[in-house]
């Protein structure tokens, strides 16, 4: 192909496939709702959220442990730290051959120390305990 395409052009197939998948899923969901039996009367027992056959107690308004929220926040911090290692990891082998491997190792060593300090502090402050 002679024309110059932007780098994001390689994502066009992903978009096409996503649209195909959405169409496929929609056809399935709509199709089964046409094929299946219809609800004639409003059946209270059937429409109730599942509760082992007894009248429902407690709803989704009930409280969820704050630990989940904390886990998600910690995940974002650590995930960003790990993503910083990716470009470094790709260039590491090249830089060893260039003779700058020691510098690269030291720089990442400093970063890993910060990472470990963060993890140790997290464990010490009991942010990861689920009791």
């Amino acid at each position: 192909m002679n024309s110059v395409l932007p780098a994001s052009a390689s994502l066009i197939p992903v978009l096409i496939l996503t649209l195909i998948l959405l169409a496929f899923g929609t056809v399935i969901i709509v199709g089964t709702s046409l094929l299946g039996p219809k609800n004639k009367k409003n059946n209270r027992a059937q429409m109730m959220p599942y509760e082992c056959g007894i009248p429902g107690i407690d709803t989704t308004d009930s409280k969820i442990s704050i630990k989940f929220y904390l886990t998600a926040i910690l995940f974002i911090l650590f995930d960003i730290e790990i993503i910083f290692m990716y470009p470094w990891a790709i260039k590491f082998m090249d830089s060893i051959k260039d003779g700058t491997g020691g510098y690269m190792l030291g720089a990442m060593g400093l970063f890993v120390v910060l990472f470990v300090v963060g993890l140790v502090w997290e464990v010490k402050s009991k942010a990861l305990d689920w009791n």
Binding site: P13, L17, A72, I82
Partner: protein, 384 residues
């Protein structure tokens, strides 16, 4: 129809075919799971419908089609109906980004009184240069379908399962992406094809400035990254919500977890998503650590020469070469899928606090240690 539109059509059909490959593998895997669990637990398993019960899942699928679809009261309809569709997307997008075999080079040929070609068709949906980052990003989207299902169902079991699933998914994502840093250091690329190409030939490694060659072993990533491979495999169990990490659907506590309120085909879509996730994990494990689609000690050129001598026509030989390599990958994928199933029926489930402390306090430090040791080892080995 011009030659470009032929190429585009083939590529779109190919993407859909890889998606269908994922969908059609689900009945086989469910059958294998049922028969396998029966074998492990000394039972018979499904054996009535068809030989060895093979058509059981076809019968189930037809039954699923005619089930009554309904949403529980106070459910959130857009979320409830969108969640199973969203479950399809991560697995299918990720599977399409993995090279499943060598590219097929088609020389010019005549069809419908017109010359076509030459073409090069990749044996994968699309080749994104930064394939590994793309897969990591896409597979984390799996959390969304779980959360949408949990919130949309207005059921407390669904919600608890969904919150657990999201928390464990993101926790093990850390160990998983950190385990891959070792692979990136060894191969220095984000492209799957280059990683597979680098694993050809006998095992060659550098230690303290000298090169050693072990002729008896293939040049697979597992020999460079044994701990990384173990962490990666363990983390994929948690990502795919499989036992021993299936807390989101722990049936003793949460009925069926996030898909408690689903029935019929929308439940099946969740299963397609889960088994798709397992297939992606197996294919990734094969690609990173077990040579991908390459055949140990045999180069793609040798396979092509073999087929050229057997059949006439370079195009037929190119297609047969790709199919041979594809089978080589499928053998590995099938083996890992069996390990997934075997582990599910062998190991007991973790408790939730054990699960989280395994992910954060054991696997994350070990993955970090793997990175540090790999870096120092590479530096000592290749330093000039």
């Amino acid at each position: 129809m011009g030659r470009d539109s032929f190429e585009i059509t083939v590529n779109i059909v190919k993407m859909f075919a890889i998606f269908l490959l994922m969908v059609q593998a689900v009945p086989i895997l469910v059958w294998l799971e049922r028969r396998g669990s029966a074998f492990i637990q000394n039972r018979t398993g499904p054996n009535r419908v068809g030989p060895l019960g093979l058509i059981q899942l076809l019968a189930d699928a037809v039954k699923f089609l005619f089930k009554q679809p309904f949403m529980p009261e106070r459910g959130v309809a857009p979320l409830y109906y969108f969640a199973p569709i969203a479950a399809l997307i991560p697995g299918a997008l990720a599977l399409n980004a993995i090279p499943l075999s060598t590219p097929i080079k088609i020389e010019p040929f005549e069809m419908l009184g017109q010359m076509w070609g030459p073409y090069t068709f990749l044996f994968q949906g699309y080749d994104i240069g930064i394939g590994i980052v793309f897969i990591l990003g896409i597979s984390s989207l799996g959390v969304y379908s779980i959360l949408l299902a949990g919130w949309g169902s207005s059921n407390k079991y669904s919600l608890m399962g969904a919150v657990r699933g999201a928390a464990q998914g993101i926790s093990y994502e850390l160990a998983l992406s950190l385990a891959l840093v070792g692979i990136l250091m060894v191969y220095g690329t984000l492209s799957f094809k280059e990683i597979v190409d680098a694993q050809a030939g006998p095992l060659t490694f550098m230690a303290f400035g000298k090169e050693y060659v072990i002729g008896a072993l293939p040049n697979w990533g597992i020999f460079y990254q044994p701990l990384g491979a173990l962490i990666f495999f363990a983390a994929t169990f948690a990502e795919a919500n499989r036992l021993p990490f299936d807390l989101p659907e722990a049936e003793g506590e949460l009925v069926a977890g996030f898909h408690t309120e689903y029935a019929g085909f929308s439940l099946l879509l969740f299963y397609i998503g889960e088994y798709g996730h397992m297939m992606v994990a197996s294919a990734l494990l094969a690609t990173f650590y077990f040579g991908g689609y390459s055949i140990p000690f045999v180069s793609p050129e040798a396979v092509n020469a073999f087929w050229l001598a057997k059949v006439d026509g370079a195009n037929t030989a190119a297609i047969l070469t790709a199919v041979t390599h594809h089978l080589s990958l499928l053998v590995r994928v099938a083996l890992f899928l069996w390990i997934f199933i075997h582990v599910r029926w062998t190991l007991p489930r973790f408790r939730y606090d054990q699960l989280m402390s395994l992910g954060w306090k054991t696997m994350l430090p070990w993955a970090l240690a793997n990175v540090v040791v790999t870096a120092i080892w590479l530096w000592l080995g290749h330093r000039t």
